[in-house]
Homo-oligomer: 204 residues x 2
DNA sequence: GAAATTAGATACACGACTGTAGCTTACGAG
DNA sequence: CTCGTAAGCTACAGTCGTGTATCTAATTTC
């Protein structure tokens, strides 16, 4: 009831971090459309004037926050386990998607106004600028080792996992469970690679 | 400079249609967050007072517009042509998605604030309330006729087409071409059904 | 410790959107 | 033709966000 004694005045990095967190939370909650300096300032408990000293408008703050976000972790294919690595890479995607940065990016990518400037800035840094990031890292790895026909790894196939995870999150509002991720891998990705399709299906 | 002669005063259905069109355009352009009575009124060329006589806030107008939208066309499986019917059903989805109503729905479904009340209203009418709507109608049809093992038609598999189309639209901002739809069917959906996977692949 | 920074607290005029109220006038019904 | 309904037109006070301008006081730097 009294952390008003150690009332310290935040400066530099500490303050900026607080602001970055505030924008990400704010945009995930109210959307890009309702993002305001006022709202950010309130959430970060700092006056608007402090914001204007550094940024000229809310989207600048948002962009800056995203640029200072840790880039997403990359899946690192390990043992000779395509199925396991695919599931892990999707789990990585889900974890990122539910993080503040992930939720912010989702909101931005689907905002009809924000698209132009932002998407580009996002692509450059938040997503490592290589091709797809989650399953395709894994898929390329195993394609190179001949675990499935390389010509199967088309752009469409590389998107299947992410597309299904995304759709499920839009539909239900919650991230897929591990069981659902397994279903995606077993029922959609692996068959598209020509693997595990006909035979070992769910033991049914 | 003189279509001010036939200045007619719109009434009833004509006026309401104009307003419905206006909301849909407006929301697709500015997003749910920036939807205002003022903006709707401006676009429909009617004073705000007229809007307030019928609706209490912008989202009410939007909901009403969506309820008066024609429900999406249903794919009707025709000849014995699974592949062709799948492609047609996805084309139907794309057509709907680029329509004013489709664009509005997309914006609403991905808006962090609109989700609760709206999604439900949407599900009830805009989407025919049966399960999936586009590919799954087709898939059920052919599953019942034994064209592929019925147990393959899992929720995940029923979502593959729509998920990939959605992802492509988010990524590129434009709807997929027919060639891309074919690729989705050939490389993702059919293999997941256990069809056309190993053999007839792209003639490669 | 003194000086330079810079966060924090006002305050303000401006603009946009909100609801509401009131009038005027086109339109449709009888 | 007359009358009732409802569209179209202001106008207005209230709220919220915007930028900017001061002023203060806490922290860092030397």
């Amino acid at each position: 009831m009294d952390d008003q004694g150690p009332r310290t005045r935040r400066r530099g990095a500490e303050l900026i971090n607080a602001i970055h967190n505030a924008v990400l939370e704010e945009v995930a909650e109210v959307g890009v459309g309702r993002l305001t300096m006022d709202g950010i300032g309130r959430r970060a408990a700092t006056p608007r004037t402090t914001l204007y000293r550094r940024w000229s408008d809310p989207t600048e703050v948002l962009l800056d926050a995203l640029l200072h976000t840790h880039p997403m972790e990359e899946p690192t294919p390990g043992a000779d386990d395509l199925r396991g690595d695919l599931i892990r890479s999707l789990r990585l995607m889900v974890e990122w998607a539910v993080s503040p940065a992930g939720r912010a990016v989702a909101v931005i990518l689907t905002d009809p106004q924000a698209a132009p400037q932002m998407s580009q800035a996002l692509a450059e840094r938040v997503f490592a600028k290589r091709g797809g990031t989650f399953t395709s890292t894994v898929l390329r790895h195993y394609a190179e080792r001949g675990r499935f026909p390389a010509e199967r790894l088309t752009p469409v196939v590389a998107d299947i996992g992410e597309a299904l995870v995304t759709k499920r999150m839009i539909d239900t509002g919650t991230p897929p469970t591990d069981a659902e991720l397994e279903a995606i891998v077993d029922q959609a990705i692996l068959p598209a690679l020509g693997l595990g399709a006909g035979e070992s299906f769910m033991g049914g």
